[in-house]
């Protein structure tokens, strides 16, 4: 509750900051302080201290998992702002407003991690999405940015329509928005709602699949990620996507069983399609930014395992995955924003000219590829282990397919490393400060630390 209120207030405060000052570094500092405050009040919630007590009438329900996820997302945002805050203020004309929108997105995230009612799900998704449409078009003089924004809006609206349609069907047949109240439906003597309720749920799931860019609902992703200002792509690809997954898992926790066994075939098909589209298409890309868009689809395929199996291990896994994937992606995009040429060739010879950038970038890419000693390895490991734990040898084929696609991903991640280290070239790069490099090194160290002691992060989750 603290997080929802405080993030909304911070958003408003950021808007006013934009009126009072145009000093970009002051704006950034305000944002950093607000984020720190956000993390603190969210942690306070865990200890039962509330800024304002609100009776939500069971529309929201707070659990350790959701709160921890909030902390993780806020911390990732903080890293993002510390690393790319300058690029946020430089992305378009209005510096403070972008931060305000980011805070609103965080507000949406906070709702999505604790909603207990389909209405709150809808509101959370919309609060999350609408600022993103604007952020995508932040570079308003750039045609590509405008196009991406419009596309995102059109397709986002379409998916919202599907979501609403689903909610309507479910409400119509069950008479309640509460996902909690629907839970006993699986027990003995539950009313049979016929076909409409599951179809409604199916629609809701499809809308969520759209949000997490699972194939074949992923089409918006490459165009939007490519067109949006790089710094906001970074934000969308990490923080927003992770929030989509958490809302998905929350709903699935309650309702998956009602979907019948068909879901056990639909979801694997979607996972494989996502892995296939993401990984295979990424192979041929010439632009690193677009490659990263496809890579985010591919990573979503892995994260979908946490939806497919729903146990403690997969929850630990999705947390680890969020942390690993967000840190690495934020790092890569931060470097990408400083590159003049964002094709693979643009990275040629980076290791000679900027060894720190190249080395940290290599660590991030290795983590995304899931190489041991990096966080990405354990993230993938937990996901696959959760699948095996839940379904035994029967799901082994799925694990094997996933690992094969992970092998394909090595190809395009290593293309960047190859360009940086083994090719000659004169990479053009805008000014990088010492602080920027320090932050990158810290991110890389964090990745290796999580990759070496993953339990340290997860133990924190259980306090």
């Amino acid at each position: 509750m603290n997080a929802i209120i405080f993030s909304a207030l911070s958003g408003v405060a950021m808007m006013f900051t934009g009126i009072f000052t145009t000093n970009k570094s002051a704006i950034r500092n305000v944002a950093v302080i607000a984020l720190l405050g956000l993390i603190i009040v969210n942690l306070l919630h865990s200890y039962g201290i509330f800024v304002v007590r609100v009776n939500t009438h069971s529309m929201l329900q707070f659990e350790t998992f959701g709160l921890f996820f909030n902390t993780l997302v806020f911390a990732a945002t903080l890293l993002f702002v510390l690393l790319s805050g300058k690029d946020v203020t430089n992305a378009g004309t209005y510096g403070a407003e972008y931060f305000a929108l980011i805070f609103f997105v965080l507000c949406g995230v906070s709702i999505l991690t604790c909603y207990n009612s389909l209405l709150m799900l809808f509101i959370g998704i919309e609060i999350l999405s609408i600022p993103l449409y604007i952020l995508t078009g932040a570079d308003k003089r750039n045609l590509k940015s405008n196009e991406a924004s419009l596309k995102y809006f059109l397709m986002g609206s379409f998916s919202t329509g599907i979501l609403l349609m689903g909610i309507t069907l479910v409400y119509g047949i069950t008479g309640t928005f509460s996902i909690e109240a629907m839970r006993p439906a699986v027990s003995v003597g539950a009313p049979n709602y016929g076909i409409l309720e599951p179809v409604g749920l199916l629609f809701i799931f499809i809308a969520l699949l759209f949000k997490v860019s699972a194939a074949p609902f992923h089409f918006w992703t490459p165009d939007v990620y490519d067109g949006a200002p790089t710094v906001f792509t970074s934000f969308m690809a990490t923080i927003v996507k992770a929030a989509g997954f958490v809302s998905f898992i929350r709903l699935f926790d309650a309702r998956a069983i009602e979907m019948g066994i068909s879901w056990k075939i639909i979801l694997p098909v979607i996972i494989i399609a996502t892995l296939l589209i993401g990984n295979i298409t990424a192979v041929f890309q010439q632009s690193v930014k677009r490659m990263m868009a496809y890579s985010s689809i591919a990573q979503a395929g892995f994260m979908l395992f946490a939806v497919y199996v729903n146990n403690d291990m997969s929850k630990e896994g999705i947390l680890l995955y969020t942390a690993a994937y967000s840190i690495a992606t934020i790092g890569i995009f931060a470097i990408l924003t400083r590159m003049k040429d964002i094709t693979f060739d643009g990275f040629n010879g980076l290791a000679k000219k900027h060894p720190v950038l190249a080395a940290t970038n290599a660590v991030f890419l290795l983590s995304l590829a899931g190489i041991p000693l990096t966080a990405g390895f354990f993230a993938k490991y937990y996901m696959l282990a959760a699948v095996v734990k839940e379904n035994g040898a029967g799901a082994l084929w799925l694990v094997i397919v996933a690992v094969l696609f992970a092998a394909v991903s090595v190809y395009y991640y290593f293309r960047v490393i190859q360009a940086m280290y083994f090719k000659e070239g004169e990479p053009e790069i805008t000014e990088v400060s010492g602080g920027f490099k320090t932050a990158l090194v810290m991110l890389a160290v964090l990745i290796v630390l999580i990759g070496t002691f993953p339990s340290a992060l997860l133990n924190w989750f259980y306090f």
């Binding site: 397709m155 074949p216 066994i261 068909s262 298409t281």
Partner: protein, 634 residues
């Protein structure tokens, strides 16, 4: 005393690190002092440990858990008992003398190579100490691999010579073959007993079936074959003389080759309960002793003769182990360490004086020019020939007596081998030191006795070679005179054998007489007329080492090479590469096609989404029909 134990391997490790890392900046004298000093320090600590064990018994020092998995764990622990403390003294004591000697012998090397040499030497000693001190087979294995690595590094020390590199590779590969046996034995033990700690294994040996026991002991012996150069894995040791001479001394006397003896003596409880393995050990040992002795007779390289003599002496030790005379074998390790280190260092002194000439046909008459080397070398020769009261007599006699008790044929063959030993050693001695000088004028002009850093170790070793046997005087002469046996009795359960005293006198007399005759024959034959020409007939076969290297080459190396070539050219090029490249091409091709889905038209995207939704709903409406069909396929 627990903490003291850690110091023993720690000093050489420090020496290795300092010399290895500081090789570019340290002066030669600093390197020499550090390199020898750390071993001396280890030796001092070893002495303390030895006397501690003598008065207070064995201790186990556990540093930490090396491997900890569920119910089984392998501690990183050192066992300081009678056996290991004795080996510690041999390793660090002889090791120190060799280090000291090396400071002079290697003085012509460039300073960073000099430091590299000492770093390797220290690492070698460190590995050997680990091997001996470990309280379980895994720690022993770490040292076991370590000495293998160090021997590789040191044999190939002059890495610019391709032949030396080949010799180094050969040593490494041969050792690895043996190591596999050792590893399998350790795994076997682990799977049957769940522990590899000596104390637990030996206490629970009765839980092993006799088949297990035989399998494990034979596999361990395979490991020993590699490390201690027994048939069929012996060929690396003669080639190992490619390294600097002090390294040969280290490998042959103090470290490496004694590892196999140590390991079997350590596992004596297991071997005593497997007759098959014991017989195998005895037979292989005896065969190696005889076989390599025949080869040594016709070698003309001073170091090669000594190398084959080591193989032969190791064979005696294994014979001793095989007939249950574990103490005798350990005793022989000790005396052999004295006189073989002496002989190698003496040979080094000769080579040093002769400006790296190793062919004894070009020597002769060195007696006057190298008086200290000559007299000490002679001591070594007498000791190895088993003439009383020199050290070799006592240890060899103990093994032969036990062999007689076991099987008189073993004894007979053993004495024949001893005669050959005496013969080739004095052939070597006579050709090198007696007669007239046969080298060039240049060499004769520069002949000189070696510096004192080299002669002092020689003198010390010569003294040890002469008196070293008195710790094991047989019952026959002095009641309770076998100090070594009573010292080792807590760790080694001797298999009792009884021979009448009169018989023992006769046996002893025969072996000494035979050795003496062989010595006199060799001296009279070679002091005036050394064989200078190329040997013919049987001599040629012996000189060419029974063509064993060629045999291995034809039977193992060549077919393997052919197979590798086949795999490389056929399987890999068209098979593996084809698959790999094919997969890569498939991926890039499908990538190019899939990319076209992303055509930028929002309408198209939404169409795909709607189609997908319809499919999803259809699958659901089927109510698991597809799922059932799908699962029935598997």
């Amino acid at each position: 005393m627990n903490t003291l134990a850690y110091l023993v391997p720690l000093f050489p490790l420090l020496g290795f690190l300092v010399n290895g890392l500081g090789r570019k900046s340290l002066s030669k004298s600093a390197t020499g002092v550090i390199g020898s000093g750390v071993i001396l320090a280890s030796f001092v600590v070893s002495l303390l440990l030895f006397f501690d064990v003598k008065s207070h018994g064995a201790t186990i020092a556990t540093a930490f858990d090396f491997i900890n998995g569920g119910s089984f764990k392998i501690p990183f622990a050192f066992q300081i008992d009678q056996l290991s403390s004795l080996f510690l003294l041999i390793i660090t004591g002889i090791g120190f003398l060799i280090h000291l000697y090396s400071t002079a012998y290697m003085h012509e090397e460039e300073s960073h190579h000099f430091a590299r040499y000492f770093a390797y030497l220290n690492l070698f000693v460190f590995s050997m100490l680990l091997l001996v001190m470990g309280a379980n087979y895994v720690i022993m294995f770490i040292g076991w691999e370590g000495v293998g690595l160090c021997s590789y590094l040191l044999i190939g020390y002059w890495f610019k010579n391709a032949n030396y590199n080949y010799a180094a590779k050969k040593a490494f590969v041969m050792n690895r073959i043996g190591d596999l046996g050792f590893l399998l034995a350790v795994f076997w033990l682990l799977s049957k007993l769940g522990t590899v700690t000596y104390g637990d294994v030996f206490a629970n040996y009765s839980k092993l079936s006799s088949a297990d026991m035989t399998g494990i002991t034979i596999l361990l012996f395979v490991g020993a074959m590699g490390k201690s150069a027994q048939i069929p894995l012996y060929t690396w040791l003669p080639d190992a003389m490619a390294g600097p001479t002090p390294v040969s001394a280290l490998i042959h006397a103090a470290t490496m080759v004694t590892a196999g003896i140590y390991m079997i003596a350590r596992s004596n409880v297991l071997y005593s309960h497997s007759e098959v393995a014991q017989n195998l050990v005895a037979i292989i040992g005896l065969a190696t002793a005889l076989f390599s002795a025949t080869i040594a007779i016709k070698q003309n390289d001073i170091k090669k003769v000594l190398a084959y003599s080591t193989v032969s002496q190791l064979g005696y030790m294994f014979l001793g182990l095989g007939v249950g005379a574990y103490t005798g074998a350990v005793f022989h390790v000790m005396t052999h360490a004295f006189f073989k280190a002496l002989l190698f260092l003496g040979a080094g002194s000769v080579i040093h004086a002769m400006h790296h000439e190793q062919d004894i046909r070009k020597m002769g008459g060195l007696k006057k020019k190298l008086p200290i080397t000559h007299i000490t070398f002679l001591m070594g020769c007498i000791a190895i020939s088993g003439i009383p009261p020199f050290s070799g007599f006592f240890s060899k006699d103990e093994i032969l007596a036990a062999a007689f008790a076991h099987n008189p044929v073993y004894w007979g063959l053993g004495v024949a081998g001893a005669a050959m030993t005496a013969f080739y050693m004095f052939r070597l001695y006579a050709t090198t030191f007696l007669g007239t000088f046969r080298g060039t004028h240049e060499q004769e002009h520069h002949l000189h006795e070696s510096p004192s850093a080299m002669t002092i170790p020689l003198i010390i070793l010569a003294i040890l070679s002469v008196i070293g046997g008195f710790v094991g005087i047989p019952e026959l002469f002095v009641h309770d005179g076998h100090l070594l046996k009573s010292f080792l009795s807590p760790v080694i359960t001797e298999q009792e054998h009884h021979i009448e005293h009169s018989t023992e006198y006769v046996l002893m007399g025969i072996s000494v007489a035979v050795a003496a005759i062989a010595i006199l024959f060799a001296i009279s034959k070679y002091s005036k007329n050394p064989e200078l020409g190329e040997p013919a007939g049987l001599g040629k076969i012996l000189a060419d080492k029974w063509y064993i290297d060629e045999l291995y080459d034809a039977v193992i190396v060549k077919p393997l090479d052919a197979l590798a070539t086949f795999f490389k050219n056929i399987i890999e090029k068209s098979g593996i590469d084809g698959i790999v490249n094919g997969v890569g091409k498939l991926v890039t091709y499908s990538s190019r096609q899939l990319r076209l889905l992303q055509n930028g038209q929002v309408g198209g995207y939404i169409l795909f989404m709607v189609l997908a939704m319809i499919v999803v709903v259809l699958i659901w409406v089927n109510d698991g029909y597809l799922y059932k069909m799908f699962t029935s396929l598997f």
